[in-house]
Amino acid sequence: MIRIAFDIGGTFTDFVLHDAGREVLRVGKIPTTPQHLETAVLEGFDAILAAHEVAPAAVTTLLHATTIATNAILERKGNRTALLTTEGFRDVLIIGRQKRYDTNNMHLDKPAPLIARRHIFEANERVAADGSVVAPLEAASLERAIAALKAGDYEAVAIAFLHAYANPAHETAARRAIEAALPGVAVSVSHEVSPKFREYERTNTTVANAYVRRIVDRYLAKLTDALGRRGFRSSLYIMQSNGGLVTPELAQAFPVRIVESGPAAGVLMCAAVGREEGLEHVLTFDMGGTTAKLGAVDEGEPAITQTFEVDGIDNRRYSGLPLNVPAVELVEIGAGGGSVAVADRGLIKVGPESSGADPGPICYGRGGKRPTITDANLVLGYLDPDWFLGGAMKLDPQSARAGIEAQVARPLGLGVDEAAWGIHSVANSNMERAMRIVSIERGRDPRRYAMVAFGGAGPLHAARLARTLGVPKVIVPVGAGVGSAIGLLTADAKIDVSITRIVAVEAEQIPTIRSIFADLEARTAPDLANLATGGAVRWRRGAYMRYQGQGYEIRVELPLGEIGADFAAVAVAAFETAYKTVYGYADSGARVEAIDWFLVATIAGLGERGATVRQLIGQGGATGSGRTSRRAYFPEAGGFVDAAVVDRYALKPGERVRGPALIEERESTTVLLPGDMAHVTENGHLLIDILGG
């Protein structure tokens, strides 16, 4: 069985080919072709297949992570989309939740809604919180809305009526009428996209789904067409934000679920690396060009959140648009190689502003004028100016120094080296704050976790980050530069459904609870049929529960099987155990209610767990910079010292390196601090024991 995973990012498209029979894993990386994404894909496929000496027809499965949906949202370049909502509530999407993302700034703007007010129409109807109909859907108002939709020449329509999660009848009727009147228009309805209460979040999620639908349709059609013409007969699967794969048909129906496609695959890779190394608690640290993304794997499972914000600023709540979509939990902050450093009122500030990949840091020599984290890392000697991306790109240390001197050092009365160190340190302390949120603030003791660091800049900062948080081990995996693509190889197919039903968890409600889970099962049935992989289905179910009167719920896993008379008691006990874990105490005796109910179906078989990155060993292909040492800045050793430069691919399993050292590979450099020890494991990963500090 030959599989190819490919991850299209903003700058690069990454490829990994896995041949289970020959036990070979190959990687590739080529620049993304933004205008015609499939061009780079085909080019990359050609190259990797040529290297492996097989024809396209031999490839059984293609696994894909894409930023196509995300980019449409970030750039507000989605479909021409309209929203139909309940009369009197036209402005739900415009009003939002209204909180400023920075209390101390009264001059900021709200995140721009995906569509303008002129594209929002109303229909006269009303359903109450319990699902009863207060006012039927008025035919005349629907006809008026349809006339407006026709006149507006829309590609996609979202329908979000109040309390539609409790009774979808009006949304269903409106959809039927719109589809009949406007053939070819893609209609998304809130009770299918996100059957959860809280109207703003549900409406926004539904609008986002409509907004990217045709874009994803067109993209996938072009891609499959191009692949078919090239002779591929493989089945294609798309990564969702929840870390599970689905067929293109499902991704097209609910494209909002693939917004965090690439980052989710990255966390899966970390989980797989943890499994290989026997570490089931992992903090994930992905630092790229514009942001750093931090996540967690608990007991081998990536942490999942039911809602997240897209297009936010520096992980500040309310700065982005909320999506009710299960997603791998990630904290994202504006700290990447391209993040800009400034002297601001006597202090050094780094990010969230970024020079991105273009023009990029000053040292890229592409017109960047503002000093960045990468410029600082170059000045500090962590990067080799002649061996960036394996020498494919030359860096200019002189202009990096000059930029840091003029814009950071001089205004603050520092030397250039000191200022560069300051930029590096401040970036670390920003990431430390984010990592504290992921770890300590969410009940994870960093001393029990290992950190998996990847992305171009992750390995440069990982060891220091680990030190300040007390993380004992850092792993820089093989193929860290194509982390998300490797993660795809380890993924399963997964269907995730949930619904809001506010129910007291008590014995009298057993019939209600049974019908809720029956409903959820019915909702998964068509999706499972579509996936039809033949693999065994693994089920999980549960509810988000709270003490009656509280405002926040916690996730509680509930037992499978027959829902018997004691199910409510079992559920309450499970809730109280979970509550105690989070808050340290439980208020036994108080009434417990469930808000959202969920069901997850995972189908093994796509991602062979047997596919390990071990098979990559010896395929690095890079020859190393040929240097043996370089001056680099380690303040604990007294400043600039001679640090050993080690070619990662030349290291044999078990061979040890003591810091200070710089361990180089094509896509990144690992900074090893004085006192720390690194070695390559049997599986080929670079493992650092944090001993110093």
């Binding site: 400023r100 009264m106 703007d109 109450a128 919180a129 209460f197 300051g422 920003n430 808050y583 303040p635």
Partner: protein, 557 residues
Amino acid sequence: MTRTTGDIDAITLSVLWNSLLSIAEEMGTALRRTAFSEAVREGDDFSTGIFDGRGRLIAQGNFTPGHLGAMPYVIENVLKFHTPESLKPGDAILLNDSFLGGGHFPDFFLTSPVFRDGRLIGYAVTTAHQVDMGGAAPGSQRVQGISEAYQEGLRILPIRIVREGRFDEDLMRMILGNVRVPTKVRGDLMAQLNANHVCAERLNRMYDAYGEDTMARTIDALLDRSERETRAIIAKLPPGRFEFEDYLDDSGPGTNPIKVKVAVTVGDGEVEIDFTGSGGTVQAALNSYINYTRAYGVFATRCLTQANLPNNEGSFRPIKVKAEEGSFFNPRFPAASGGRAAVQIRIFDAVNGAFAKCIPHRAMGAFSHWANPNIGGVDPKTGKPFIMYDMLLGGYGGRSDKDGVEAMSPVMNCSNIPVEVIEHTNPVRIERFELIPDSGGAGTYRGGCGIRKDVRVLADEAVLTLLGDRHKFAPYGVFGGGEAAKGQSIVYSGNEAKELGSKEVAVLKRDDVVSLRTSGAGGYGPASKRDPKRIEQDIADGYVTEEGARRVYGRAE
């Protein structure tokens, strides 16, 4: 870490400042996660602060400005009752007095001394808005008919409620015996103590890592630099005395408007905000105690002048706020003050109006005033009492280069409560929640629209308590920008419609509909200079009607 000699370098300063902020934020997370009340969990109505051993504010979390600005004065007051020498490890001091504290009884300030090897190195302070402190009405914020603080519930002068890390159960019993929701009050107090613990732990770890000498010099340097930078920013402002005058509607039906008069004096790197000449103390629970007046006066100044970093004593020093003793903005105890939150936006509006003459590019038209209504009664389905607590948040005034933001929380930072959540927990139906076209003040840059929410009562009887404003005095525009439409509160009962005052209390019957309509926000610059394209966009989006465009912008038919 970098070794330092003499002055603290910018790197150490930057990294330690980041760490202090992260402690203040982590305190906030601990408090939010373990709190019981909706105000804390949903409304983020709490704050955190770190003080040094000398009682100087070093850092705060990004939370409620009213608490943050009051905190330094509260600590000063606490230390007058409990001298630093008398404090022991594991102590915590509680206070909620409206004069010594945050301006009304629901604000609980809990101060824990932080010790290291037996020596006092600082204080951890948290503030949380408790949902009830007893008194005349649930929530302890009723305005009408409250003439002195003793009607507003339990008053706590600084007491040592925690010793050796444990709550004094006698004091606790006394407090909980006086409030309507003892479980929530106890839960929130415990959450405050948790947060203070987090601060003590992490501050000690910072001292371990950097040493006392570096920490002491860093704190001095931080405060000095913050003060220096703040003064430098203020020094660049045009000096002078800038005045502004406006009126609050009243303090309840049948009462007089309250004058809001402010003089802003800029010069010598300092700003003075002087409310002299404003109205006197009122016989209703609306008075703004000096700590509250100061908090929002300073907040407005820092936002407008951009002297808003970092939040510590140094940056507070150059900004002074004063008001005559015995006046509305500086009442003497026992003036009633439960509903003083209705005033915060107006403090900002007044300071903004004065600064408009000094820094026109930073000023804005006046805000939509918020509405903070309560509807309470008995839920016919459960037979139990309900309180529908709501916040209507309108638009921002026009700015020097942009229209005002639509529908964003002004000044104090809250989120709205979703319609679907309100309807799940209260016997009401929301019939409308939308922007009001043509309500924003016209201008080169238009003010945001007002917001309307119509609520149908589904209980047999309910009491409506309004806490709003701008029903009589419209939000102003600046530099020729138009004023906004005024707010209205209307009760529809059968075929009758009755307008209510902005702070009125009314009894509603089943199927009555109360229509709450906030004012719009003021415009910036003359309407005649508005880009015609913007007018057409507004009409397309329905923020302005064609008729409205003809009226205020002179658009041709």
